[in-house]
Symmetry: C2
Subunit: 315 residues, 2 copies
């Protein structure tokens, strides 16, 4: 991977940087930002790392996670160069109301906006973390254990820990070097996938006991009573819908969660080409092709039926 | 990884081989055996691939999976050299009642017996598949797509698809080469993790409902009656013990499966430094640090208590 010389020269020349990443930051956004911050500071630079939204609890193992700020006041006083990471428009980072004198964009998402003075958008890169890995090496900075842990996590998050189709040889070769620099694959996987508390797992078992499969659609539900009994919260259900995906015949996995009396929130995950955003839109919801959601006021039976009908209609 | 010259010379010199692997073969056993068979046949050798137990359904995507035989009659007529893979004693492969003129042992398990004419047991190897990868390269054989798919699957299976502590740099570098030779990480992960049939998932839910956690040890059990009711087989329980590992406090996840009246097979998975091979050895079983098993004749309650006691004793 070739790192644009222009980016290297700006990073070498300037002193102050504001690293900003997208709203609802994921592992790639967080890990890339922290790794770049640590690397630049090791060169004697001053960096601020900005995210509008707080870092999810299970990423708090990342070295430097407390560098994140959600207020730009102090950062702006230093007249920094903006480095936009894992996104390529100021709106995605919720910084569209600020004017900065110069901007570097480093991203692997499809280009939407023509923003920034120096842009490096490589849609073939598996993760922004992989681009930052090559960038840091090109700057001649030693990859410390802290940098390696952040970059390995970034790459893990965006490749489904090496299970998605973007797991190409360069991903593995970079990851091998990151282990040599101190990243610990098992510990990182533990933090990412094996850090549930007991009551969350209990709720999962209860939800799995409600599983029905109709016409390649897996449906589970969680009532307010189940939340109460297990002392869990709605955010504890994140990823629940991934479990029934294990079944080969399942194309859509849905979780209906009771959010009020007779009101349900459906969370949908699909495999391959099945577009659940289209289903969600039929009920005023939205999302992406493989992950979407909608709200519906109905009894549980009707709510489930609506989903099955929508799938039939669209297929 | 250095491949013993003695093994290479026997493989080059001899014509007929019987490749045998352990009972209840897992991904590493199956993938390694098939890869070696395909490689040797490409050199003009004749091979038989033996497993006492049938290949679990979800490994049937592996190229050459129908090479497996469970009857040795024809193989023995060729007076073959035995190649024992992913185990190191004839008992583990259920071939202790046959006498072969010469034996090569290739394995990475900790529990070692003194058997075979040429032994290559490397307990630091992440997978037997990784050893076979280097062996095939040392033989000067081109790694075909079929060989690559088998070896990538073998390595995936024994490293939890790169999530266990045996995910060291050499694992990634070999895997990168295997992708270059045609292995498809996303397809293999789909086959390994998202191709369960419905009844297997039903059995998982039933098993999860038996979950108890004592002193950081998660225990589930599956009775013969549960197998009967869900029309499932013992091999359907592969990976079940990984689910309770999701809970942060769990250090060991165990599944007790009833294999006869009052006889249980315990399958253990651990996190980090907890060595379950040591626990398994206390009861005449074996395995690796993070994945091991043993058999015990006892009622369920006593069987569970034995595990808890063994853990206490060793910690």
């Amino acid at each position: 991977m070739r790192v644009p010389e222009k980016i290297l020269s700006v990073l070498r020349k300037e002193r102050n940087f504001l690293i900003a990443t997208h709203i609802n930051p994921d592992g790639d956004a967080i890990g890339s930002s922290l790794a770049l911050s640590i690397a630049l500071e090791s060169m004697g630079k001053k960096t601020y790392v900005y995210s509008r939204d707080t870092v999810p609890g299970f990423y708090k193992f990342l070295p430097g996670h407390n560098r994140f700020i959600s207020n730009l006041k102090n950062a702006l006083k230093t007249d920094p160069v903006l480095v936009l990471l894992d996104c390529n428009s100021p709106e995605r980072a919720a910084i569209e109301h600020y004017v900065l004198r110069s901007t570097i964009v480093i991203d692997h998402h499809e280009t939407e906006k023509d923003f920034g003075d120096v842009r490096w958008v490589d849609r073939n890169a598996a993760a922004t973390g992989l681009m930052i890995f090559h960038l840091i090496k090109s700057l001649g900075i030693k990859i410390s254990k802290d940098i390696a842990t952040n970059l390995y996590t970034a790459i893990s998050a965006d490749t489904g820990t090496f299970r998605y189709s973007n797991t190409y040889p360069g991903v593995f070769r970079a990851s091998a070097e990151l282990i040599e620099s101190g990243a610990e694959p098992d510990l990182i996987a533990d933090y990412l996938y094996e850090s549930w508390d007991r009551k969350r797992f209990d709720l999962l078992i209860i939800a799995l006991n409600t599983l029905e499969i109709h016409n390649r659609i897996a449906i589970m539900y969680i009532t307010r009573d189940m939340f109460r009994k297990t002392k869990t919260k709605p955010e504890d259900t994140e990823n629940f819908s991934n479990f029934p995906r294990i079944i080969d015949s399942v194309r859509i996995s849905a979780v209906f969660r009771e959010i009020g009396k007779g009101v349900w929130k459906a969370s949908l995950r699909s495999k391959g080409d099945v577009n659940v955003a289209k289903i969600a839109e039929l009920y005023g919801g939205g999302g992406h092709k493989n992950a979407a959601g909608f709200k519906i006021q109905a009894d549980l039976k009707s709510a489930k039926r609506s989903l099955l009908k929508a799938y039939k209609k669209l297929n």
